[in-house]
Structure formats: structure tokens, C-alpha cells
């Protein structure tokens, strides 16, 4: 049974058909790569899954539950975590606070109890902080724990954002260009973290990424989108040799990945 299944998804913006009958399925604990040229509709798909946009037609099943029509916060509650193309963190608070915000769905005590910081509230804070610390250790950001986010280097901010998505203990993680704007070393680290998340935490991952080396290296399965339509789906080897994909990327008969 697939973890996430997208069936015949369509969406129109004004007169433009941004997605045209896209369907694919992401298996449990799979690392699923979504690639395609700029403006192909990749981020739109993530936004629909998140409930930011509502599709004109089509269905999205998460663990066999149709989630079309859910509000973004409801979708977060059922376990969909996400990072963004441009970092969307609270820039003026610390790394810890950003991550604790990710735990919001687990915190029961309200503003009244919270202001006294006693009893259940204190216990809750400790349990959640413990989980945050596990994530900090996992992502190796111990040195930045109490730093204000906007002061941190870009690569670290990217890692913190991944940490915030993880802190909500998602069933599925949507990553929008996790390696963009990074240097080679940072990319290697990030690829390693993504693989470790899949393997150590058993989380299903759907990733948009333009760095072909990374996608081909770590993805289990890849779907290629162009002009709102799916043009290919398969494992990395199949995708690399697919003539339609090559054409979409380069417009000529050259392989787009050099090995």
C-alpha cells in the first residue's frame, strides 16, 4: 500500500492549466524525487498536498485517507512535514525556539498554564525539549542551539529548517530544494542527513531537487514533470536514459547527467 497517492491532479490558475492529470504513488519509507524544469509545477504539487491550494479535480490519499479539502493545519496534524525553497524560519528567535514551535501539535497546555510553567506544562516542555535535543544531535547543530537564526550561515539555516520539519514527527516529509544554494560540502552533508532520516527514522520523503547528482544518487524513485504533466517515472537509471526526460532538460540528444 502506498503511503501517499496522487490521482489525476488538475489545477488551473486563471486560464493557465498548471497541473494536467498528474498521478503517482509514493511507497512507504521511500525517497521519492520530483524533478522538472522551472515552472513545471513541482512546488504546486507540494502546495496542494499541504492544503495551501485546492485542486480543480483529483484526489490525494495519505494512508488511504483522502486529504483534499483539508486545511493546512489539519494536514500538518495528520503528519505532513515540510521545508521550503526559501527558508521560512522565524529569523529573530533562537534555533531551539524555532524547533519547539515545530512541536506545537504535541503541546496541550494553554496560555494560562504556560505562563506559570508548572506541573503538566513543565513536564510537557521537558518531554518535547528532549525530542528536540535528539534532533539537534542528529543534525549536528549543537553549536547553534541558542543562536538567533538570522545570524547563522545559510547552510546551517537550511539544516535548522529541516530540523523544524522533523520536530513535528512527520509520517511524510516534503522537501523543496533542500540543497539549493549550498557548496559541495554542505550538499554532501545534507544528502547524508536526508538518507539518515529515511533509514534511521523510517520517514517517507518526497523531495524536489535541481541538483541531479544528489537526486540520482539518493532517490529510490523519480517522477519527472514538465509543463504540468508527468513525462516519466521510474528508478534513477531508467530516468537517466529516458529520451523524453533528456529532451525536456536539454532540448537535445545529450545525456543530462555525466557520470
Amino acid at each position: 500500500m502506498p503511503k501517499l497517492e496522487i490521482k489525476d491532479l488538475n489545477i488551473n490558475f486563471g486560464g493557465i492549466r498548471a497541473l494536467n492529470g498528474v498521478s503517482f504513488a509514493v511507497g512507504n519509507n521511500q525517497l521519492f524525487g520530483l524533478i522538472g524544469p522551472n515552472g513545471a509545477g513541482k512546488t504546486t504539487i507540494l502546495n496542494i498536498i499541504n492544503g495551501v491550494y485546492h485542486p480543480s479535480s483529483g484526489n490525494i490519499f495519505l494512508d488511504d485517507q483522502d486529504i483534499v479539502g483539508f486545511k493546512p493545519y489539519q494536514i500538518a496534524r495528520i503528519g505532513v512535514g515540510r521545508t521550503f525553497q526559501n527558508i521560512e524560519l522565524f529569523k529573530n528567535i533562537t534555533v531551539i525556539d524555532n524547533l519547539m514551535l515545530g512541536r506545537h501539535r504535541f503541546i496541550q497546555s494553554g496560555i494560562l498554564l504556560g505562563s506559570f510553567y508548572l506541573g503538566r506544562c513543565l513536564r510537557e516542555e521537558m518531554v518535547n525539549r528532549d525530542r528536540i535535543e535528539e534532533i539537534i544531535e542528529f543534525l549536528e547543530i549543537e553549536a547553534y542551539r541558542k543562536k538567533i537564526v538570522k545570524m547563522l550561515p545559510y547552510g546551517i539555516q537550511k539544516r535548522v529548517e529541516l530540523g523544524r520539519a522533523l520536530s513535528m514527527d512527520p509520517k511524510i516529509l516534503l522537501l523543496d530544494e533542500p540543497c539549493s544554494g549550498m557548496n559541495t560540502e554542505e550538499i554532501e552533508d545534507m544528502a547524508r542527513f536526508i538518507l539518515d532520516i529515511k533509514e534511521e527514522m523510517g520517514i517517507t520523503i518526497m523531495m524536489i531537487e535541481h541538483n541531479m547528482e544528489v537526486v540520482m544518487d539518493i532517490a529510490d524513485r523519480i517522477c519527472v514533470i514538465n509543463f504540468g504533466m508527468k513525462i516519466a517515472e521510474g528508478n534513477p537509471r531508467e530516468i537517466q536514459n529516458d529520451p523524453k526526460v533528456i529532451q525536456a532538460y536539454l532540448g537535445e540528444d545529450e545525456p543530462f547527467v555525466r557520470e
Partner: protein
């Protein structure tokens, strides 16, 4: 009567201190205490686990990874089982790792994490003696299908089962260890040629610790942060051997990146360091002060000379005038105390620098802040320490008096020779080198030195590194090099001049500090190479060299220099694992460049 070995001392400490804190480790942002009892349980289980997996007396267990409590558990466990612990630098490339695992014929290797495990997996087919790889942190490795791999925790589990069947087994094994047995093999960093494995027995270790305590006593109240690599004999001495006698607490930082703030939190009382770290602290402070608030800068600039004056008077046992004392007190509260607090060095009562010669200027700088840095001298082959200044009896430029227990003399060619119970057992699988280093029980150190009238030992240089200029003058390069490295803009300096008419230098600029300077001066640059080639930078370094030349005799002055266009690198065989320069290699590699200095 049982023999005195590290494992038997360990059992004594456990009995004596039980619930007391032995180790602290920062995890999840909090310092976690590990009592002596818990320490014992880990060592016992791991030891029995190794036994069950087939560890025999005399078998080698290599340990590869950054410092952590498990490093110590593994080392002690191997020794308790009659085995030998072998440390490997975590920064070593897989080729260097292979050399040590292969040469030591290790049966087991304990690795910290995936990074280190991958190195071993890459070469496992070329290691016929290796049977099991034990991984401390399994993150990212759980999916590996590798029959030779198991986790540290699994081994402890196996050991625990064995312990339940025979609760006295571990104690009996410890009782069976003998003081003449080899406890550890330390591979020397090897500035010349491949590393050699120095075998140190329990007796070597216990005798050196006892002698050391007569000069520099360490008690249960002391605490240390384990910073330097544990495979180095000095760090092993401080983090493993000394606690077995004194019961002091060892702390492990969360990661390299958090070291500075972890130091501040722990505020250790004993600080073991190397010149490179002190140089780094000094240049960081110097650079930071240039950017500091004018008031702070003024205070720093004015109080530092006062601190220096007071320190010098104290060392020379001269009277310090009331005015100076008041001024120093002000300086202490407004500058030195906050500075040392920031560096995590406020509580330090003994600061020992070793492994390489320390520049006098750096030493004076720390003395000014009230931190009485001492320089110790020792070799791997003499179990770490031969001499260290006692108390306030510090003579800058010397390494103090030999600690009790050593017999010593200076050979006719100036070489330091020593004899005593701490002289190593020999090099592992290298008879020839052993015979060369140890003749009639005298250890030939390869270092040139002399004693001054007070009996303090002054090290001139490595015997092999003494330069003889064309005019026949002997010159010790390391002292001049250290003088140059005192400049925050110079990271590395190599003096050339053997059989040459004058001295010249290869200089590696300190990229961070020079880049910072260039930015302020509005000099555009892109890379290290580009920066090194810039004529303005050349002028800057020329200024630094001129200043150094003023303090050197004419014959020791540096006539010409060249800025290296790349940073010296371990991976290019230019530095050893302890970041010492491999002179021979560099002189060979940059031969053409050096020739241009003499045209």
C-alpha cells in the same frame, strides 16, 4: 599480592569512589555524570564481551575516533583482558588507518561513527588479522549488511550475560594482568618516515604517574576537559592514567564546534594543551581586540604590559611595588578575569603545554593574564613526561627540571639521554629501531638540549633539524620559527639554511587573519593563493619579519622569504596528524621554490 596495573588501579578507584563522578559527557545539551560504578560496569561488560568474541592475551584492539567515554571504556577493557590498546588519529586518511591496523595486526577495531567505519570497511579486505569492527554510534550504519560489524552496545550485552554467569570473572582477569605486560601501543606521529609503534607497559605508566605527582599533584577535586586526541600519549596520560591514581574528573565536550562554550561551562582546573592551541587563542584575542570597543581596547593595551611586568617580577622573585599591585588588581578585574572566563580558563591552576616547543612571547602573553603556562618535555618513548616546572619555579625558555625517577645525561654531541622505569619496552615489530633508540637501557631521545646553572633543561631542537649554515654556525630553526609564528598573520614558518650562505623562510599566512586585514585595508582577493600573491600582503609579512629580525642575532636573521601559495595539508603529507611540519618532505617538494631564494 596483585601487581599494580592500570586495570587494578581502576578497581581500587571504583571501590574508593563508587558513586563519585568519574566522567562527564555533554549530551542533549546537558552535562551527564558517569559515576565510577557506572564506569566500571561499562568497562567490565565491554571487556567480557571482547573476551567472549575471542580476545586473547596480547591481542591488539585499535580505537579510532574522537574522544568520548567509550574510547576510555574500550582502552581499559582491552587492557583488563590482557590485550593492548592502540589509538588511531580520527583525522587519519584510510591509507594511514590501514598502515596502523595492519602493522599492529589488530584483531578488533573500535570506531566512533560512520565516518570512521567507512574508512575501515574500505580496507577490510587487506587486513587479514582484523576480525570484528565495533561501532560506538550506529547512526547511518544500521542498514549496512556487514558480518564483521557490531555495535558497542551489543558487545556490552554479550559481556553482561557472561558476567551474570560468572560474577567474579572480570575481577579475576584484572588480577591476572601483570605490570610488565604491554598496556598500550602509541604510534608516533612520524615527522620522519612512517609511524613507529612504541610499546608502553603498565609499569612504565604507573611509574611515570607516581613521579609526575611529586612535581605536579592532581587530586580528586580537579577536573579536566579532554581536548587533544586520546591516541597521543600526553592526552592518554591526563585523561586515563592520572585519573586512575587521583580520581579526578574528565569531561567530554559535545562536539569540536562547541568546545569553547563547553570549556566555559566546565571551567577546568587543569589544562593540557599544545602550542598550536595557545597560538590560536592568542591570535584570536589579538584580532578580536582590534575590533573591540575603544575603551576595552585601551584597557587591554594598558593593562597587558602591567600584567607582564608583575608576572616577570614574580617569576624572578623580585618585589612587586604597591602601585603595580593595585594596577594589576584593576587589570585583573577589568581585563584578565573576564578574558580568562570567556576562554574557560578562569579556574585553571595548572596549565601544561607539550608536544612541541612554545614561543616565549606566547608564554609571556598568558603569564600576563595570570595564567602560568608551563612547558613540559617528554617523548612517547618515555611515557609522556620527562620534565616539567614545579610550582612557580618557571624559567621561560626551559622545560623545568626532570621529574624524580629519571636518570639523565647529555651526550657529547648534546643529545639528551635518559634512563628509568618509564623508558618504553620497544617498538612493536621493529627490532632495529628499538636498538637504535635504546642502548644499554639509555633512551636516545634525538633531541639536543642543555641544563642551565639552575638545573633547568633547555631544549635546543631535534637533532635532525639543526641547521649548519655555510659559514659553519649551528642554528636551531624551531626557535626562530616560533618567533615568526607569534605574529597573528603567520600560521606556519619553515626556516631553510642548511649548508646555505644565509637563512630564508617559507611562510604560510594565516588565512583568516590576513583576509580580515585585507578586508579592512580594502584589498580585493578571492582565494588563499590569490591573497598570498598580493604584493600588499607580502609587504605586511615583510614588516612582521623585520620586527622578528630585530630580536634575532644577525646570523639568525631572515634575509629572504616566500609566501606559500597553498596551505600545508595533512593529506599531502606536509603535516603530521599532530599538525607538525614534515620538514624533509616540504624541502623536497618545494625544492625549486627554495632554490629561487638563493639566486
Amino acid at each position: 599480592m596483585t601487581e599494580i596495573t592500570l586495570p587494578s588501579l581502576f578497581e581500587h578507584r571504583v571501590e574508593e569512589l563508587g558513586e563519585g563522578v568519574a566522567l562527564r559527557e555533554k549530551k542533549k545539551g546537558l552535562w551527564r555524570r558517569i559515576s565510577w560504578d557506572e564506569y566500571h560496569t561499562h568497562v567490565r561488560n565491554f571487556c567480557l564481551g571482547l573476551k567472549k568474541l575471542g580476545l586473547q592475551k596480547g591481542d591488539r584492539v585499535s580505537i579510532l575516533g574522537d574522544n568520548c567515554p567509550e574510547w576510555l571504556y574500550a582502552d581499559l577493557a582491552a587492557q583488563a583482558a590482557g590485550g593492548i590498546g592502540v589509538g588511531v588519529y580520527p583525522t587519519n586518511s584510510y591509507v594511514q588507518v590501514k598502515y596502523i591496523l595492519d602493522h599492529s595486526q589488530s584483531k578488533f577495531v573500535v570506531v566512533k561513527d560512520q565516518e570512521q567505519a567507512d574508512k575501515v570497511l574500505m580496507i577490510k579486505d587487506q587486513l587479514p588479522f582484523l576480525e570484528k569492527m565495533i561501532v560506538i554510534d550506529m547512526k547511518g550504519l544500521r542498514k549496512y549488511d556487514e558480518p564483521m560489524m557490531l555495535s558497542f552496545h551489543e558487545v556490552e550485552k554479550i559481556g553482561e550475560e557472561l558476567h551474570e554467569k560468572g560474577p567474579s570473572l572480570f575481577h579475576e582477569m584484572v588480577q591476572a594482568t601483570q605490570s610488565e605486560d604491554v598496556a598500550i601501543i602509541v604510534y608516533t606521529s612520524g615527522t620522519t618516515g612512517p609511524p613507529k609503534g612504541a610499546m608502553l607497559s603498565h609499569k612504565n605508566i604507573t611509574s611515570v604517574v607516581d613521579c609526575f605527582f611529586q612535581v605536579l599533584p592532581i587530586t580528586q577535586a580537579d577536573s579536566l576537559v579532554s581536548v587533544l586526541p586520546l591516541c597521543h600519549v600526553a592526552e592518554r596520560l591526563f585523561s586515563l592514567f592520572i585519573p586512575m591514581r587521583s580520581g579526578c574528573t574528565i569531561n567530554f565536550a559535545e562536539s569540536i564546534d562547541t568546545l569553547q562554550s563547553d570549556m566555559t561551562e566546565i571551567s577546568p582546573t587543569i589544562f593540557l594543551t599544545v602550542p598550536r592551541i595557545l597560538e590560536k587563542i592568542h591570535s584570536a584575542v589579538t584580532i578580536k581586540m582590534q575590533d573591540a570597543h575603544p575603551v576595552k581596547r585601551w584597557a587591554y593595551d594598558h593593562f597587558l604590559p602591567i600584567g607582564q611586568e608583575v608576572a616577570e617580577r614574580n617569576l624572578a622573585q623580585q618585589k612587586v611595588s604597591l602601585f603595580l599591585r593595585v594596577a594589576y588588581l584593576l587589570g585583573y578585574f577589568f581585563v584578565f578575569r573576564p578574558l580568562r572566563n570567556r576562554l574557560g580558563l578562569l579556574q585553571v591552576r595548572e596549565c601544561v603545554s607539550g608536544a612541541a616547543p612554545l614561543s616565549k612571547d606566547i608564554m609571556k602573553f598568558f603569564h600576563s593574564t595570570g595564567l602560568m603556562v608551563k612547558e613540559a618535555y617528554g617523548l612517547t618513548e618515555c611515557t609522556g613526561v620527562f620534565s616539567v616546572p614545579k610550582g612557580e619555579d618557571i624559567e621561560i625558555g626551559t622545560v623545568g627540571k626532570p621529574i624524580p625517577g629519571w636518570e639523565y645525561k647529555i651526550a657529547t654531541d648534546g643529545e639528551i639521554l635518559m634512563r628509568g622505569p618509564a623508558v618504553f619496552a620497544g617498538y612493536f615489530r621493529d627490532e632495529r629501531a628499538t636498538k637504535q633508540a635504546k642502548r644499554e637501557n639509555w633512551l636516545y631521545t634525538g633531541d639536543i638540549g642543555e641544563f642551565d646553572e639552575k638545573g633547568n633543561l633547555k631544549i635546543t631542537d631535534r637533532k635532525k633539524e639543526i641547521l649548519i649554515t655555510a659559514s659553519g654556525k649551528n642554528i636551531a630553526p624551531s626557535e626562530i620559527e616560533n618567533r615568526l609564528k607569534f605574529s597573528p598573520f603567520i600560521r606556519e614558518a619553515i626556516i631553510i639554511g642548511d649548508r646555505r650562505p644565509y637563512l630564508a623562510a617559507l611562510i604560510q599566512i594565516d588565512y583568516d587573519n590576513v583576509a580580515d586585514w585585507a578586508q579592512k585595508e580594502g584589498i580585493p582577493f578571492t582565494t588563499f593563493k590569490n591573497l598570498s600573491k598580493n604584493p600588499e600582503v607580502y609587504k605586511l609579512i615583510q614588516g612582521e619579519i623585520d620586527r622578528a629580525n630585530k630580536e634575532l642575532s644577525r646570523i639568525e636573521g631572515i634575509k629572504k622569504f616566500i609566501l606559500l601559495e597553498k596551505e600545508l595539508d595533512r593529506d599531502d603529507d606536509e603535516l603530521t596528524a599532530t599538525m607538525k611540519v614534515r620538514r624533509e618532505m616540504i624541502e623536497k617538494k618545494y625544492g625549486d621554490l627554495i632554490e629561487t631564494l638563493y639566486k
